[in-house]
Symmetry: C2
Amino acid sequence: MPCDEKKRRSLCPVTFALDQVGDKWSLLVVRDLMLLGKKTYGEFLESAEGIATNVLANRLKCLEAGGIIEKARDPENKRRYLYSLTEKGFDLTPILLEMIRWSAHHDSDAGIPKDFLDMIENDRERLIAKVRAGMTL
Amino acid sequence: MPCDEKKRRSLCPVTFALDQVGDKWSLLVVRDLMLLGKKTYGEFLESAEGIATNVLANRLKCLEAGGIIEKARDPENKRRYLYSLTEKGFDLTPILLEMIRWSAHHDSDAGIPKDFLDMIENDRERLIAKVRAGMTL
DNA sequence: GAGATTACTTGTATAATGCAAGTAATATTT
DNA sequence: AAATATTACTTGCATTATACAAGTAATCTC
């Protein structure tokens, strides 16, 4: 179980970000919340990458401890929790979009909708606003 | 030793990026090359975060295999190698800059020079050009 | 009340990391 | 020219994280 709240490897801002979301799984949970409209444990588990259930539980705990996501009981089904991004979590949007842009340029079988890519490159602010407003891919 | 060239967890562009640089160390090597003017194994080892020598060796190999950095003998000292970013590596600049921006906003003791932050937010393209041209912090 | 959902936890084998020490090639010093 | 120092690693081993399978507790449906 990582997410040692205390341990900070350095004061570098790049390191600050990596210490919180610099692993192979955290940003995929963020992606699910930010771009794919997923909200529950079960939905995250179903994602194509096949995260292990204990790793998912750990990442949700770490992301919540880091103030990136929030957890609330689903009022309509009390055995379910609804996860959501905090402001700090939504502020990761530009990082995710730049990762998508990088992959669009360097992954031969990227398959990113052209209009989405255009929007990243030419209308970033509006795209970010739409993501924040709940737009889903 | 990760960097399984073959293994791809999914076709998602976020995953594509994470599969290559989604760990706690790779982007720190990129940062050293991109923003701190470091070029050699010994310089990377000295970075504040304290990377282990075997992990550094592995990351350099993976980044090179992924076409993100290149390795060349130093003509002036043949026991030394000079590492540098490829185009693909330089294209990570926006991701790094967005990480720095995120940290500037969410890390209370961020200590990022104000003019650098202003430049990220208001004059991105010129900043990226300067980084590519070899600007160092 | 019995069975199904949902969100986890636990156990265990495998893999990655951290740390200390060692090696090989080239360069410098004496 | 021999001895020492640099530089870029590799190796071995203890610790930690991950993957996989199975189990549990609370709530819901029938």
